[in-house]
């Protein structure tokens, strides 16, 4: 980890009556400390990474409060960690990205939910759904239902989120059930404020350790026959207790008039968008003064049947605003109404779409339809939606071609790009092979200009995903995996399985030193540094000790060597798993470290060599092969200065970090002689100047242009300013 969270850490130290300013996920972190949490853990993933990132650097707070912090190797480990609350009165919280993380954690979650917990247990999941999501679109709700875990979906307002975190521990303890809080992407990143309280040290913690373990109680194990009694306990005792707590503590909110012809039930997380639509319809305002009865479900599981029937009774119809599919809430409400024999009409997915994010227009259209059906004037809402349609039509009449997409790409100088350049070159030479892709930055190679990959099956699963392919293809399949995926799952699910079954395939592990896609968190193999938790576990040794004979370590930026190794991996007679450890530090992390160091050295007057690349516009013929093999953001195009040519020439802009890939690629592919490396020697030494002067004089003797201009490169601009 090369980022410092000093400012964020300060806000975690706020006490009674002070005001916290920050994003949703940091507010959750503060709320945990206010709740007397004894241990925290999880696995990084957008949009919840920040929770752990900040805590990892908050050693003094953790120390003072006695909080145990675990950087878990995957979500299963994080969920398993909650076992501490099964037998001990410890409040604990873990976090991960859902749905994927919850899938990985599912085994432990089931076994945790069955015996239930004594200490309050909270799982904060980043519901990675809708715009900006990077995973498959499913709902965490299903897990809550099947395992009897309570699910909170708080209104995205910081005081409410914080309150719900605190309440979730109480709810968990009152009903002996772990609680999940789902926060959508925008809610995790929403900036707001709330009034803080003092942090609360837990009664039992790293400072106040238990002297003895809990006594042996078979009933606390998720093991038959206890499991049968636990199943009954979930529904007979824990569920009623939870419902009682929800009602007593008013976790769900009832807004607007107490009676009315129609009503709306919404997931808490969708409330703000709904309010905007109702305000347009003249049924609310910017402060949420609702004119239509609205039930805000901050707890989406379990529902409290009495609350639902009380709300529905006497109303002609209710609309359920529930994002994603299947419509679990709507199904439950239908059953509740039916059993109460209420004739209130139920709407939801008949008026709102089954799939996709509930953005403003989506909710607006559904609400308009609902209001329209029940004769309520939707006024400004209808006018707005008509305006949106009219604007759409005007746009369709104006513009013709669809705009080119701008998917994310590898960063400038990314060490993973050369691997895919090399793979493309080998593909051109030897033909295509099946490529099994994993989760991580390297999945960006599925976008142009690389456009490769046959399956993405899960984090660390790419090698396992290629196992049957390896047995049924003439050509050896290739598998790509990050070091993150390797430690998360790949080592056992993939490598052990592959060696065990003697599969004949090739695994490329991107060894960039961090879990980069999630924000450069440390991994077991990360190098120990000032900040962070890297321990430098050795992947090569791990592989060899597991019986992998063919392991090659390559420097990613040496494209020609990479090409050779890839070619050998494809063509060697040697059977079994072949692993290529593709080495190159995450460039984002590297630049974060190097830039300040370089600026410091420069200002001290030390000799610093800055390197960047350059394309010779005189020799570039504008074919752009180099771009198709690299796709680097700093390798772009510019107008052709040649009056006789019209196609734009390749051009390296000033974002170049001098990784050298473009030159290496054009070398390896024998593309063209247009790439040059420029070394700028800043604060040159006397020896540097002497050698250069000598060289210039010799060049001059042979008719070269060695003038004073050569020695003093005078340009008006200074060095670039680093990005904040």
């Amino acid at each position: 980890m090369e980022v410092s969270f000093h400012k964020e850490i300060q806000s975690l130290k706020l006490g009674d009556g002070e005001t916290f300013y920050g994003e949703g996920i940091l507010a959750v972190t503060k709320a945990l400390l206010q709740s007397g949490v004894a241990y925290v853990g999880g696995y990084q993933g957008a949009p919840v990474s920040h929770l752990l990132d900040v805590l990892v650097q908050s050693e003094d707070i953790l120390e003072e409060l006695g909080v145990h912090l675990e950087t878990c190797t995957n979500e299963a480990a994080a969920a398993a960690m909650l076992a501490a609350s099964v037998q001990y009165p410890l409040r604990g919280c873990v976090t991960w990205k859902s749905i994927v993380g919850t899938n990985v954690a599912a085994d432990a979650l089931s076994n945790l939910a069955s015996p239930g917990v004594i200490g309050g247990t909270l799982i904060v999941v980043g519901e990675d759904y809708g715009e900006g999501a990077s995973v498959i679109q499913e709902r965490t709700h299903a897990f809550a239902l099947k395992s009897s875990l309570w699910l909170l979906d708080p209104r995205p307002d910081l005081p409410k989120i914080v309150d719900m975190v605190e309440k979730s521990f109480e709810l968990s303890e009152a009903s002996n059930t772990p609680v999940i809080m789902e926060l959508r992407i925008r809610a995790c990143h929403v900036f707001g404020s709330f009034e803080t309280k003092n942090n609360v040290p837990a009664p039992h913690s790293t400072r106040q350790k238990f002297e003895e373990p809990a006594p042996f109680v078979y009933e606390r194990l998720a093991h038959p026959p206890a499991t049968f009694r636990q199943e009954a306990d979930k529904v007979d005792r824990r569920l009623p207790l939870a419902r009682e707590f929800i009602v007593r503590e008013k976790l769900n909110e009832f807004m607007g008039p107490s009676t009315g012809e129609i009503g709306i039930i919404t997931q808490g997380g969708l409330f703000n968008g709904l309010n905007g639509c109702l305000a347009d319809a003249g049924l609310s305002d910017a402060y949420g003064n609702l004119q239509v009865p609205t039930m805000v479900l901050n707890v989406t599981h379990p529902l409290v049947p009495e609350q639902i029937t009380d709300f529905a009774r006497g109303k002609k119809a209710i609309l359920i605003v529930e994002e994603g599919s299947p419509e679990y809430i709507e199904l439950s409400v239908g059953k509740i109404l039916r059993q109460a024999d209420l004739q209130t009409a139920l709407h939801g997915k008949d008026m709102l779409p089954q799939a996709g994010e509930y953005t403003a227009t989506v909710v607006g259209r559904g609400v308009a339809k609902f209001l329209d059906t029940y004769g309520v004037e939707s006024g400004g809402l209808a006018t707005w939606l008509d305006g949106v349609d009219a604007n759409r039509k005007a746009l369709d009449d104006t513009s013709s071609d669809p705009l080119p997409p701008r998917p994310p790409t590898f960063c400038t100088g990314c060490p993973e790009r050369p691997v895919f350049s090399a793979m493309k070159l080998v593909k051109e030479e030897l033909g295509p092979v099946h490529v099994s892709v994993d989760i991580g930055c390297h999945a960006l190679a599925t976008f142009p200009p690389f456009s490769q990959g046959h399956s993405i099956i899960g984090y660390g699963m790419s090698l396992a995903a290629a196992s049957a392919v390896s047995g049924t293809q003439e050509k050896r399949p290739f598998t790509v995996m990050g070091d993150g995926g390797f430690w998360h799952n790949g080592l056992l699910t993939g490598v052990a399985g592959s060696v065990f079954n003697q599969d004949d395939s090739v695994l490329i592990v991107m060894d960039n030193g961090y879990s980069s896609a999630t924000g450069a968190q440390d991994l077991p193999s990360s190098k120990p540094k000032d900040l962070g938790r890297g321990k430098g576990l050795n992947m090569e040794k791990a592989l060899k000790s597991m019986g992998v004979k063919w392991v090659k370590r390559v420097n990613n930026y040496k494209v020609s060597t990479l090409v050779k190794v890839l070619r050998e991996a494809r063509t060697t007679k040697e059977k079994g798993l072949k692993v290529i450890l593709a080495e190159g530090e995450c460039q984002l992390a590297r630049q974060r470290r190097l830039r300040p160091a370089m600026a410091k050295a420069l200002s001290k007057g030390d000799r610093v060599v800055r390197t960047r690349f350059w394309v010779d516009e005189d020799t570039c013929t504008g074919d752009h092969s180099c771009i198709r093999l690299s796709g680097c953001p700093s390798l772009t195009i510019k107008p052709n200065p040649d009056p006789l040519r019209t196609d734009p020439v390749a051009h390296v802009n000033n974002d170049c970090v001098g990784c050298g890939l473009c030159g290496e690629v054009s070398h390896a592919a024998q593309l063209c002689p247009s790439f040059a490396q420029i070394d700028i020697i800043q604060n040159p030494t006397a020896w540097d100047r002497f050698m250069r002067g000598l060289s210039d004089r010799l060049i001059g003797l042979f008719g070269g242009a060695a003038g004073p201009e050569r020695q003093t490169g005078r340009t008006p601009d200074g060095a670039g300013v680093p990005a904040e």
Binding site: P47, R184, F191, T361, T409, H624, Q670, I681, G713, R714
Partner: protein, 510 residues
């Protein structure tokens, strides 16, 4: 029940690309709004999807009228955005397309510069989108639009683009945040606050200047700097010896003569002029065709062999360009290291024809096709300089080299087709001329281009001109083939076009 109010938030949407500082901008605006005592909410969708990809930040601001906190939206709504900021033109266009910019309310601040998408960059010819239609659409759909090259302003101030935008927003009065609060937010920023303040003041100045132009929607007309994306049109002057050509051709021809004299010598340039003179004399030769001919013949005749590359790399003009681009400070030493890797064709091509032919044949026989001569040459140092100097000087032997013989053979074939087409199918002549642009580059690119050209020649040009296929199909056929040839590097599209041309032409001929 509370009494409803009709206060509306001011809604701001920022479209940016990951890593561009959009998050920092949104952060400054949040701080500024807090400083000004406003309610503010900000949200975003970062995550991995933002790495240099398109992303947005959404903010709402409201005046504080009491202790009750407003309920603010997390999603921007089409038709409900008051202020739209886009840090790049295509992203502005994307937001317009998504309906976030509407004539009833949206003030649009968009940078006119382009950051090309991978699709645009990787096209085999010119894949860039047209800038002007995008600017026009943006202006048409915004209530007010200020579209300038913010990036250029930022570079001029050695600041970041986001600070310029901050200045624009502060100065425009589009947001309910006073200028001083904006400045304070920038000053309180973590890093580079001097540079950011420079950018901020430049943004302020720009918006003040734009306001003096009465019609903000016509702001593009008042743009002081020439647009970076539309290529500058060089002015080429005719010389007496090219005056036999139509005026629009003469300048190009004069440039051709200059280029070929530089490439080899005056005699070589004379050959170029002789070809031009011969073809221009033909009654069917149009000025348009002659312009294309003057252009492409000069480019093809100055083919990029090893001598040429070495010579270009030693030019003084090149060195000053390098220094400017490297942003070297006074006193810095700038070194240039060339990545060169000629293959067997390029190396043996320098040898006399007979010897070269024999060596190429041998290398093919022995499978030396992959053989290459990797060189990293430091041209700013004597050891590297002298090697290239030697290669450049060796161009005096070029006319006897294998490569030259091959190039002249190609040239004669190409010109021969053009001249025959002028007789048989005059409309096809310009299309045949244009095929020359397929043959370019080095190594595999050159081979692919030549292969494509030969395919078009053998399957279309030659049979149509010798009467075995109908000549009236030639112009359209060659045009389609040339366009297909730059669709994909595997030449799949071209192969399809050529095959279907043959089928149709044969059906017609029978």
């Amino acid at each position: 029940m509370n009494v409803m109010t009709d206060i509306q938030p001011t809604r701001l949407l920022i479209a940016a690309m990951g890593g561009e500082g959009g998050g920092v901008l949104a952060g400054w605006l949040t701080e500024a709004a807090l400083d000004a005592g406003l309610w503010v909410q900000r949200t975003s969708v970062p995550g991995v999807a933002q790495r240099t990809g398109a992303t947005t930040y959404y903010l709402e601001f409201m005046p504080k009228t009491g202790a009750v906190k407003p309920v603010m939206a997390l999603h921007p709504a089409p038709g409900r955005v008051d202020v739209m900021v886009a840090t790049e033109l295509l992203e502005a266009m994307r937001m317009v397309n998504a309906g976030f910019v509407t004539p009833d309310r949206t003030q649009l601040f968009a940078s006119r510069h382009r950051t090309f998408t991978v699709d645009e960059k990787s096209a085999m010819e010119d894949g860039r989108l047209d800038v002007e239609p995008m600017v026009a659409t943006c202006c048409a759909f915004a209530a007010k639009a200020l579209i300038r090259d913010f990036s250029e302003i930022a570079q001029r101030e050695t600041a970041h683009l986001n600070s310029v935008v901050m200045g624009l927003l502060a100065g425009s009065g589009a947001l309910p945040i006073p200028e001083e609060s904006c400045r304070a937010a920038i000053k309180a920023g973590k890093r580079a606050s001097d540079a950011n303040l420079r950018g901020f003041e430049a943004g302020l100045a720009l918006v003040k200047e734009a306001e003096t132009v009465p019609d903000l929607r016509g702001a593009t007309k008042a743009a002081p700097a020439p647009s970076a994306a539309s290529d500058p049109q060089p002015v080429l002057h005719a010389t007496p010896e090219t005056e036999f050509l139509p005026p629009e051709v003469a300048g190009l021809a004069a440039e051709g003569v200059r280029r070929l004299t530089d490439f080899q010598d005056r005699a070589y340039a004379e050959q170029y002029l002789a070809h031009l003179r011969r073809i221009a004399a033909h009654t069917a030769a149009t000025p348009e065709m002659l312009a294309a001919l003057a252009r492409h013949m000069a480019v093809r005749m100055s083919y990029e062999d090893t001598h040429r590359v070495a010579e270009l790399k030693l030019r003084q003009a090149r060195l000053s360009r390098v220094q400017a681009e490297a942003k070297a400070r006074p006193g810095d030493i700038v070194d240039v290291m060339e990545y060169m890797k000629p293959g067997p064709e390029e190396v043996f091509g320098m040898l006399p024809r007979k010897l070269g032919t024999r060596l190429v044949a041998m290398s093919q026989r022995r499978g030396w096709g992959k053989l290459s001569f990797p060189m990293k040459v430091r041209t700013t140092r004597f050891s590297g300089f002298i090697r290239l100097r030697f290669l450049a000087a060796a161009k005096r032997w070029r006319p006897r080299s294998l490569r030259h013989a091959e190039e002249m053979e190609w040239l004669d074939g190409w010109l021969g087709h053009v001249e025959r087409a002028l007789e048989l199918a005059p409309d096809a002549a310009i299309e045949i001329v244009e095929t020359a642009r397929l043959v370019r580059g080095y190594g595999s690119t050159f081979k692919r281009g030549l292969r494509n050209w030969r395919l078009i020649e053998a399957e279309m040009i030659a049979p149509c001109l010798n009467g075995s296929l109908p000549a009236n199909m030639l112009a359209e056929g060659v045009l389609q083939a040339r366009l297909a040839a730059v669709k994909d590097p595997e030449s799949a599209a071209l192969d399809t076009v050529v095959a279907s041309f043959r089928d149709v032409a044969l059906a017609k001929a029978s």
